[in-house]
C-alpha cells in the first residue's frame, strides 16, 4: 500500500514551521520528497521471505515504513467508535557504515497519528507525535516486538499475541489488545506491492486483515469498554509515487460474512484511476485473491467540504465486476479529516448492499 509515502516527508516541512499552513507549502512536500536522495537506500525490487519477529521491527535500510491500525469498535451499550493508530518511520539518510557517536544523529524520524471517532456525538479526535529516534525517544525492537513514539506504543505479549496498543492523547486515550482471527496476508506478489512501473517503486506489504480487539477508549475522561475488529497494515520501502500519480483512495473492508477486501485506487492528475491500482480479497479461511483495476470500479457519490476548505468524497459506490455486486460505502461521520502536519481523510465507514448493512471498514483519502 502506497499510502503516506507523501505524508512521511511532510512533517519535515510543516512540523517545524508554524506558518506552513497553506496548500502550496504543503504541496511542496512532493518536491521535498524528490529532493531527498533515494540513493544508498535498499529498494523493494523483488519478493522476499518474511522472517518474524525480525520483520515486525524496523528496516532502517529502507527509507520509509509504517505500522497501521484501523478498526471499528463498540461498547456494551452498542455505541460505535472508529479508531486509527499509526506509527511511521522515515529515514533522512541511509545508515552509515559505522554508527555515529552521537545518538541523536541516527537520521530516523518517527511520527505517530492517533484518532478516535464518536459518530453519535459527531466528534472526531486526532493527535500527532513527531520525534527523531534520538536516544530512545522512538524506535522498534524485534524481541520482544515493540514499536514506540515516546509514550505511545505497540507491544507484543510474552506469548506473542495479543499485541497491546497504548495511546495517551490530550483528549482521548486508546488501550487495546488485538489478536488476529485471520493469519498474516502477503499483499501484492508474495508481499511485494508494485506502485508504479519503475523497478523498485514498490514496497513490502503484509497485513492482518482481521484482529479481534478489546479494551478501553477514553474520551474527555469518560471511559468506554469496547470490543470489535481491527485491521493491521505493515509496509516498508524506498519508493515514491510517480509524477503522474496525485493521490489515492484506500479501502479496507470487513464484511459481516467474515470476508475482507482491500483496494487502493491510485488517481492521476486527471482524476482517473491509475493502472497500478490494486487490491486483495481475503476469505474467512485466509485464502486470497489479487484484484486489479479491471475487477473493481469505485465512484464518488457524496462530497463533504472540510473546515480547511478541502472536498472529500465521503460516500462511494464500489462495483465488484466479477460478482456483479454494487456496494455503497458511507462514512460513519463526514468530519474525519486528519488535519495534522499532513492533511488527509481517514475514517470509519459502513458497507451497504441494496440498503442493507453488510459490514464496516476504513477509508483513507489523500491528494484532495
Amino acid at each position: 500500500m502506497g499510502r503516506v509515502i507523501l505524508i512521511l516527508l511532510l512533517p519535515l516541512l510543516v512540523g517545524c514551521q508554524q506558518n506552513a499552513e497553506t496548500t502550496t507549502e504543503k504541496l511542496s512536500a512532493t518536491r521535498l520528497l524528490s529532493s531527498i536522495d533515494q540513493q544508498g537506500f535498499s529498494r523493494a525490487d523483488k519478493a522476499r521471505a518474511f522472517i518474524f519477529p525480525q520483520d515486525h521491527a524496523a528496516h532502517p535500510e529502507y527509507r520509509n515504513e509504517w505500522w497501521y491500525f484501523t478498526g471499528n469498535l463498540q461498547d456494551q451499550s452498542g455505541q460505535r467508535f472508529g479508531y486509527q493508530v499509526t506509527f511511521f518511520r522515515f529515514a533522512l539518510k541511509p545508515p552509515g557504515k559505522k554508527p555515529a557517536r552521537s545518538r541523536w544523529s541516527n537520521n530516523q524520524l518517527w511520527m505517530a497519528h492517533a484518532a478516535v471517532t464518536d459518530p453519535e456525538g459527531g466528534r472526531h479526535f486526532k493527535q500527532e507525535k513527531l520525534t527523531r529516534e534520538g536516544p530512545g525517544l522512538a524506535g522498534s525492537d524485534a524481541r520482544p516486538f515493540r514499536v514506540w513514539v515516546e509514550d505511545w506504543q505497540l507491544q507484543q505479549s510474552q506469548q506473542g499475541f495479543p499485541w497491546t496498543i497504548r495511546i495517551n492523547a490530550d483528549q482521548f486515550s486508546i488501550e487495546l489488545e488485538v489478536e488476529p482471527t485471520i493469519g498474516l496476508i502477503r499483499q501484492g506478489d508474495k508481499g511485494l506491492s508494485q506502485k508504479s512501473a519503475a523497478v523498485g517503486n514498490a514496497s513490502y506489504y503484509y497485513s492482518y486483515p482481521r484482529l479481534r480487539s478489546s479494551g478501553e477508549i477514553t474520551i474527555n475522561e469518560k471511559r468506554y469498554q469496547v470490543t470489535g475488529n481491527s485491521w493491521f497494515d505493515r509496509e516498508w520501502g524506498t519508493s515514491a509515487l510517480s509524477s503522474e500519480q496525485t493521490g489515492w483512495d484506500w479501502f479496507s473492508l470487513q464484511f459481516n460474512s467474515g470476508e475482507n477486501l482491500m483496494f487502493y485506487h491510485l488517481r492521476n492528475q486527471q482524476g482517473e484511476a491509475d493502472p497500478f491500482s490494486a487490491g486483495t480479497r481475503i476469505d474467512k479461511d485466509a485464502t486470497t485473491k489479487r484484484l486489479t483495476l479491471s475487477d473493481i470500479e469505485v465512484t464518488p457519490l457524496t462530497w463533504w467540504q472540510s473546515p480547511s476548505g478541502k472536498r472529500y468524497p465521503v460516500e462511494w459506490e464500489m462495483k465488484l465486476k466479477q460478482e456483479n455486486r454494487t456496494l455503497q460505502i458511507k462514512s460513519i461521520l463526514a468530519g474525519q479529516e486528519m488535519d495534522l502536519s499532513v492533511r488527509y481523510w481517514e475514517g470509519a465507514v459502513d458497507i451497504y448492499e441494496q440498503g442493507r448493512s453488510i459490514g464496516s471498514g476504513f477509508l483513507e483519502m489523500t491528494g484532495y
Binding site: 529532493s35 520525534t131 534520538g134 536516544p135
Partner: protein, 839 residues
Amino acid sequence: MVGSRLWRAGLRHQRLHGWQTVLAILGIALGVAVVMAVGLANQSASRAFEITMQQVSGRVTHQILAGPAGLPEQLYTDLRLQHPELTTAPVVEGVVRIRNEQFTLLGLDPLSEQPFRSLTALPAPDILTRLLTQENALLLSTYTAKRLGLESGNQITLDVAGVPRQAQIIALFGDQQGAALDGVLVADIAAAQTLLGQFGTLDRIDLTLRQEQIRPLQEWLPKGLHLVETSQRTAAMANMSQAFQTNLSAMSLLALLVGGFLIYNTATFSVLQRRRQFGIMRLIGATRSEVFRVILIEQMVIGLIGTMIGLGIGILLARELLWLVTRTINDLYYSITITQLDLSPAMLLTGTALGLITTLLASAAPAWEATRARPQSVNRRSVIEQQSHRALPWLLLIGLAVMAGGLLLADNSGRSLLLGFAALFCFIMGYCLLVPAVVPLLSRLFLYPVQGLFGTIGRLASRGIDATLSRTGPAISALTLAIAATIGMGIMVDSFRTSVGQWLSQTIQGDIYISVPHSSSKRASSPLPEELPAAILKVDGVREISTGRHVTVESESGPVNLLAIGLATTSYRGFKFKGDTLKNLWADFSSGNLILVSEPYAYHNQLKVGDAVTLLTPDGKKPFTIGGIFFDYGSDRGLLVMPRAHYAQRWQDTRITTIGIYLKQDATLDAVLTEVKKLAGRSAQQLSVRANKEILKQSLEIFDRTFTITQVLRLLVIAVAFVGILSAMMAMQLERAKEHAILRATGLTPRQLLGQITLQTLLMGLMAALLAIPLGWLMAEILIHVINLRSFGWSMPSQLSPSILMEAMLFALIASLLAGLYPSLRMARTQPALALREE
C-alpha cells in the same frame, strides 16, 4: 519694552564674551558626552544581553540543570516517555571560537523547538534536512555573517578548546539589521555533540511549565538535578555585570558634575559681569522675575547647545567605549557579542534632560543672586565682596554638614551600591562648598612667601584672590573637584593593581602551570589529557605537582565557580585568609569536611567562617562548612575551593584542568619548561604551558585591560576638568580687564601685569591642587572601601601613590598657566585707555 532690552543686552554680552560662551558650551558638551557615551555603551550591552537571552531562552520558563558533568541524555528520553504532557526541548551548549572571537554553539533539536524558539524555522525544507543530517552544519545570524564576511555555504574552522574542527554554514537566519543573536551559532543537537565531542550528555533541558506542573516534576527529578526558573537565572546573570555597569555610570556622572560646575562658573561670571547692567535695568523698570528669567533662559540656551553637541560627541564616543565595555564583560562575566549601538530614544532623552537639569541647577543660583540685590547697591563691587565674605561661615557650615551627611550615609547604607554613590557625591559636594571658605585662609598663608619672592606683584596676586572671592571661590572649587576626581580614581586603580599584583605573586606558588587555553563548555574548563600528570612527574627536576579542576556547580543562589585542588606541600602558602579561620583548617580541609570561599563570595552571600554553603551534588543538596575566607581578586562572582580528591569522589569527575609544577631546588626553570612543553606538544589539544612570571605578567595585562575603560573615563574627566579650569580662569581674568587697565594706567608694565596675572592663576591652581589632595584621597577611600566593596566584594588597602599626587599637581599648574596666558597676553597688548573705555 524693558524685557526686549534685557534680551538684546544678553545677546550682546554673549557676543562680546564669545570665548566664555564657547568654553561653557564645550564644558557641558563634554560632560553630557561622557555620560551619554557610557550610558549608551552600557545600555547597548544590557540590551544585547537581553535580546540574546530572549532569543536563546525563547518561551522557556524553566530549565533542568545538573552538575559540571551535564545531564545524561537518557534523562530526556525518560522525561518524554514518562511525562509526555510537558513541553520540553533538549539543549547542548558550548563555547567555540572563530578567528579568535568567542561564540556560543547552541545545539538544538529542531523537532522539539517549535514551542520555544524560532531559530530553526527555515525557509527551505532541504536546509532542515541538511541541518538534521550533516554532522557539521551550522546556522549563523545574517548580521554576524555579514560582520565576519561569511556567506551561506562557506566552510569555517572552529576552534573547540584548542582543537580545530571544520564546519559549514548551511543557512543564515534573521535580517541584516538585527544584531540579535550576534555571537550565537545554531546547530542540530547531534552536530553540536559531535563538534564539541560531548556525547551522551545534554547541558540542560528547556521547559515551558504551568504552575501546577512544577511540583510533580520536582518530585520526579532524580537527585543531583535542579529545576530552575529561567527568569531568575537570566536575572542572576544580568546582575553579574550590574555592579560594573553601575560603576561606569557613576564615574560618567562625575564628568557631568565637573561639567555642571563649569556651567555654574560661567553663569556666575556672566551674571557678575553684568550686575551693574542688571541694576540699571531694574532701575528703569525691569522686574526681578524678568531679570531672573532672562538669565536663566540665556544659560539654558547655552546648556541646550552644549547638550546637543554633547549628544553627538557622546554617540561617537560610545562606539569606542562599546567594545571596551564588551571586552570587560567578556573578560569578567559572561560571553556576549555586542557590535551594535542601541540608540534608544529614552537614553537620548535622559542625556538631554541631564544636561539641561545640570544647566538649570548651575545657573539658578547666580540668576537668583543677580535679582536678589537691591538695584541701588548692585553696581558697587565692595557690596558683592562683602556679601561673599559674609556668606563664608555659612558655606563652611553647610559644606561640613553635607560632608558629614555623606560620611554618615556611607556608614549607614548597608550594602547598597547606589546609596554608596549618593554618599560619595554628597561628600564631594560638601567639600566643594567648603572650599571658598578656606581660600582666604590659604591666600593669607601664601601672602608672605609670595610677597617675599615677587614683591608687590606677588602681594597683588595673592591679595587679589581673597579680594575677589566671589569669582575666585567657585573657580577654585571647580578646579579642586576636577583635580580630586583624577586623584581619587587614580589612587583607586593604583591600589587595586598593587593588591592584585601582591595577591597574584602569593597565589602563584608553582613554577610552571599547564592549562587548556579556553574551554568548550560553559560548565567546566577543558580537561587536560589524563596521562599528563604522571608523565610530568617523571620529568627531571620536577619535585611535585598540584592539580586543579575548575567547574561551575549549582548552589542555592545559582551557579558558582568551584576550584577543586590537589595541593602540593607548599600550595598552602598561596592562600591568605581574611580574619580568622576554623581550627585545624588544613587537616579538616584535606579530609573533605570544609570548603574555602573567596571574599567576594562571602560578601555577596553574607557568609562568615563556620556558615554552610549548600551545593547541588549528584547525591542531592549537601551543605559544606566554610573553613576560611580567602582573598581572591580573580573573580568578583566568587570562588569556592575544595580538595580535588573529595570533589572527584562526590561529583564522579577525576579530570583535571590545571597542573602546577614545583621544581627541585637545583633544577633550572628553562630546562624543565622545555621538557614540559615537549610533553604538552604531543597532545592533540593545544595546551598552554607558562612559567609563573609569565602568568603574573599576563594576569596584570588582563587587569590593565579590564581597567582600560576606567582609565579612559579618568582621562575624560580630566579633559572636562581641563576645559573647566581654562574657562574659569580665563573668564575671571578677562572679566577683570578693567582692573588690569587701571593697574596698567597706574604704572604697571605689560611684563609686570603678565607676571601678576600668571602668578595669580598659578596660585589658584596651587591652592586647588592642595585642596584637591585631601578630597581626592578621601574619594579614593570611599571608592575603595565603600564602592568597590559593595560592587565586587573586594577589600584592599589603599595606597597613596606620590606619583599620582605629583601628576595632579602638575596638571593643575599647567592648566592654570595656560589659562592665565591668553588673558594676560591680551591685557598686556591692550591700551589701558581702551580697556577702561569699554566700560
